[in-house]
Symmetry: C2
Subunit: 173 residues, 2 copies
Amino acid sequence: MSLDQIIVEGKHLRLLKRDGWEFAQRKNIRGIVGIVAVTDERKLVLVEQMRIAIGRTVIEIPAGLVGDTPGMEHEDMAGAANRELEEETGYRATRMEFLASGASSAGMTDEMITIFRARGLVRRGPGGGDQTENIQVHEVALDHVPQWLMQRMIQGVVVDLKVYSALFFALQA
Amino acid sequence: MSLDQIIVEGKHLRLLKRDGWEFAQRKNIRGIVGIVAVTDERKLVLVEQMRIAIGRTVIEIPAGLVGDTPGMEHEDMAGAANRELEEETGYRATRMEFLASGASSAGMTDEMITIFRARGLVRRGPGGGDQTENIQVHEVALDHVPQWLMQRMIQGVVVDLKVYSALFFALQA
């Protein structure tokens, strides 16, 4: 593989060129985790927050960066998933099951996201994110999620496509 | 909303900063389409191609850019979806049903993808992509897709997470 040419170094992202192909890369992280969390009442736990790039609030699965916090560069992926789940939603899982690791948009970034299924949810706090975040938590009955997403889209809210991936996994077992 | 600061203009991507938040943006396109295509034999149609950013071949749903071809800047999304489906897989749909429009990775890009369900597939050619692409087409029995994806991952192939979104939609109806 040829050497990457750095087109620009931002603070959190860099733009690279490899074999003539441009793509964006996150900096200073070891991975990204996303969590499929279903409560005992068969409700899917989703988060909604303002996304500056999109210019709207976006409905997503709980997710976050791994290894981006000073002093926590070595946390493992399942541990990071549980930390993010609790920060964002207030739930903590008894265990995290690996579901898949995959690309979010392979044409424009090397970003890969590892998806876990949270098992044995216990409520530990209110959620809402860390001090830099303002996250609204939704719990939506699994069978009602597609209709609810369509209603929210009509209201102008954006849905992250991984929510539908989560629905697939949630309906499996 | 504050003005965007352009950190750098690449050929196909630019890196922007808005309210202190960095994100990547595709240039010269009007949209992106992805297609959920299920054959009459209940097989999901997937594509596999080398993705330079990832450094591996990636299994994805058929997808493509809208409005990036000179002279076709005004094609509509459903028309573009059918063009991409035929270029990549050789199938053409009798009609394209809108399923969802959503973000691929709202933390790092404003990219939004419009997902269609292809109805009434007719084989028109071999697929494989346009002259710049080298695409392998897979048709996998719907019930077998999750197991097949896991096998391919173990072999070192990367799966795009929208494949699981497609599975959700394909299993709906």
